[in-house]
């Protein structure tokens, strides 16, 4: 008979090994599936790597894919630390993009040094408010935040659909539902060929790390996540801390919206978040909510995505292959957590162990 026993003895290195093994397993399983569909898995994998690292341009593209994932994950990690299951990052990104676009489109005469800070603040505020609404209901009435934030995503998306095909439609687009391109004063400047969002991202990673680990508020967030009772015992104002931290969480996601409209697309569309808010939930979880690890995990995901786009153009293998492999990796890594936390022990072994201890 096999029993499940909690592990207490795993070293950090071993747990990293387990996760790497899981990723390998996922690649193997996905490879079999790709083979089954009549493609050569090695070729697919190699070309994906080629697509994300093969040239400076492709490498830059990978980084551009990683930026929104990293920043959203940072935002989500703050909420998750309090066990507030904010799965509304998608909507917060969209609302951030919406607010930033408003200034880009309707205050288009502003000089760039006013425009960009304004867009920056507007996007953070919009994302923050979008996260604050469910947080208020959670704090006041205990309304389920998981489902609430999920619904907020779709409301945000439909708002953009409405403006895209309605009031904000570009008359020059000849009836197509498109919003006009932003002017140059609303475009994030580039540094080393990548929009400046990457520098902001690096700064944010450091700031969030310091915030969580070195500040009083970060400490409070960690205590609340562990036990609200302890937090109350220690005299923390739990409601206030949850609300203000949720604004911060949403604001970070809102910024992502600004990066995307101002640095990448130069316009707004209802697909602006493109699932980043959902993928970021997974990357945050896989990274164990730790800011430095988030960078690594998100970059790996970005590489997969960028590789996927590349194989579509280069080998006419559908880019969804990347999503498929992503899904597989997620399954395997999620599953591997079990083996990191528990081990299976044969019944007879424990008997012996006990006898040994007793002796």
């Amino acid at each position: 008979m096999v029993r499940i026993v909690k592990r207490t003895d795993l070293t950090k290195r071993q747990s990293v090994m387990f996760r790497l093994l899981a990723i390998l397993g996922a690649l193997l399983a996905a490879g079999i599936f790709i083979l089954f569909l009549g493609f050569n898995p090695f070729r697919v994998y190699l070309s994906m790597l080629d697509g994300s690292f093969g040239s400076l341009y492709r490498f830059k593209e990978s980084i551009i894919q990683a930026i929104p994932l990293i920043v959203s994950s940072l935002g989500i990690s703050i909420a998750f630390r309090m066990k507030f299951w904010n799965i509304g990052a998608e909507g917060q990104i969209i609302m951030g993009a919406f607010a930033a676009s408003y200034f880009a489109l309707y205050w288009s005469n502003l000089p760039v040094y006013v425009m960009l800070p304004l867009m920056f603040l507007a996007s953070a505020a919009a994302g923050g408010i979008w996260a604050l609404i469910p947080a208020i209901f959670k704090a006041q009435f205990g309304t389920n935040e998981t489902l609430f934030t999920l619904m907020m995503n779709y409301i945000a998306q439909k708002i953009i659909v409405y403006v895209q095909y309605g009031p904000w439609k570009d008359p020059k687009a000849l009836g197509a539902g498109k919003i006009a391109l932003f002017g140059d004063n609303a475009a994030l400047p580039e540094v080393f060929g990548i929009h400046i969002g990457w520098i902001i991202t690096v700064v944010l990673v450091v700031l969030v790390y310091i915030f969580i680990n070195k500040t009083k508020r970060g400490y409070e967030i960690q205590v609340i996540g562990e036990s609200e009772n302890t937090a109350r015992y220690a005299g923390m104002n739990v409601k206030k801390i949850i609300l203000s931290s949720l604004i911060l969480s949403g604001a970070l996601c809102g910024l992502v919206g600004m990066f995307q409209v101002s640095g990448v697309n130069h316009t707004l569309s209802y697909q602006v978040a493109n699932g980043v808010g959902f993928t970021a939930i997974i990357t945050t979880w896989l990274a164990g909510l730790s800011a430095p690890v988030i960078v690594i995990v998100c970059f790996l995901f970005a590489v997969l995505q960028q590789g996927g786009t590349f194989i579509q153009t280069a080998f006419s293998i559908h880019s969804s292959a990347a999503q498929l492999i992503q899904g597989m990796i997620l399954f395997f890594v999620l599953g591997s957590e079990f083996f990191i936390q528990y081990k299976l022990v044969l019944k007879q072994k424990t008997d012996k162990l006990i006898k040994k201890e007793a002796a």
Binding site: T146, L150, Y154, I159, S320, F338
Partner: protein, 313 residues
């Protein structure tokens, strides 16, 4: 057109559009009633849609199509069940992963079928069938009783599920698993088995919902054919407070919202996106009302989303 005509038109459209929502909602109700929050509905629907469509396309057999869709949905659910029950993974993250996987899976498998349509023989087998007598009732007759065979199947599944949940021993047991797995366990109920079985049934229903979209609503393959209906189903489960009868009403109501903008185009100008927003608004309002009410009834299953391990200490 007379008012009666418009009403009939809208109701008929609502039921047709609401049926895939109904299947997916019933599937998620079963899953949540047993305590598992599976956010992979959209993924399972897409898996059902692509496999169902390709089976129907290659065999020309509509029954095989629907069956294949069911199995595909159940396979997606099996992954979720294995991860969350056996391997004790986080339910939210696992469900989202399933949606990512299902989306990728459907695009990848379906890439060669884009734009292809089903044979007429398949399409005709989903033509409306008018039920005798019932079909002649004004307004409600054409809307409810002159429909394709899967719409009728939807009625049957909803009623069976409601009876199962509230009138049978198995239903009582499974509700107990979702409310208090510890109590169920000590009462001799096999918690893991109940969870597995019901998650799989839930996946099958989501698979049917997906197959309905690709084989009946849009009888040709297009990428992302379910168009976010899986998420509406997740909302619907809350909106109808986990009740299969209310799920029928809710699904058709949300179905009506999804076509209302189109039908009212000539009369009042309200963009479709506003109607599309309403289901989510309504769901949030229901969520808030549930949390405001002090009553213990109509609440989410108590152990929803919480893992259960007997020996944890």
């Amino acid at each position: 057109m007379t008012f009666i005509n418009i009403l009939t038109f809208i109701l008929t459209g609502a039921v047709t559009a609401g049926t895939p929502l109904l299947f997916a909602t019933l599937g998620e109700i079963i899953t949540e009633k047993v305590g598992q929050l599976n956010l992979g509905v959209e993924g399972m629907m897409l898996m059902g849609a692509v496999i169902g469509f390709s089976a129907a396309l290659s065999t020309g057999n509509p029954v095989l199509g629907i069956l294949a869709g069911m199995i595909a949905g159940a396979c997606g659910a099996l992954i979720f069940a294995f991860l969350t029950i056996t391997l004790r993974a986080n339910q939210i993250v696992s469900g989202l992963s399933l949606t990512i996987f299902g989306t990728g899976f459907s695009s990848f498998v379906g890439q060669k079928m884009v734009g292809q349509g089903l044979a007429d023989s398949v399409r005709n087998s989903f033509a409306p069938i008018k039920l005798p007598l019932l079909g002649d009732i004004p307004v409600l007759g054409p809307a409810l009783f002159n429909q394709n065979v899967l719409v009728y199947a939807g009625y049957v599944v909803a009623v069976i599920l409601a009876i199962y949940l509230y009138k049978t021993r198995l239903g009582l047991n499974m509700r107990m698993v979702g409310e208090n797995p510890g109590a169920a366990d000590t009462a001799g109920i096999n918690v893991a088995l109940y969870k597995y079985v019901h998650i799989l049934i839930g996946g099958m229903l989501c698979g049917i919902a997906g197959a309905y979209m690709s084989m009946i609503t849009v009888p040709s393959w297009q990428d992302g054919v379910t168009g976010g209906r899986g998420w509406i189903a997740v909302a619907l489960v809350i909106f109808v407070t986990w009740n299969p009868y209310k799920a029928m009403l809710g699904s058709y109501f949300f179905g009506a919202l999804s076509i209302l903008g189109l039908y009212l185009q000539g009369y009042v100008h309200i963009p479709q996106s506003i109607f599309d927003m309403l289901p989510y608004f309504a769901t949030i309002i229901v969520l808030i009302m549930i949390s405001l009410k002090k009553s213990k009834e109509n609440n989410p299953p108590k152990a929803l989303g919480e893992p259960y391990f007997r020996e944890d200490r």
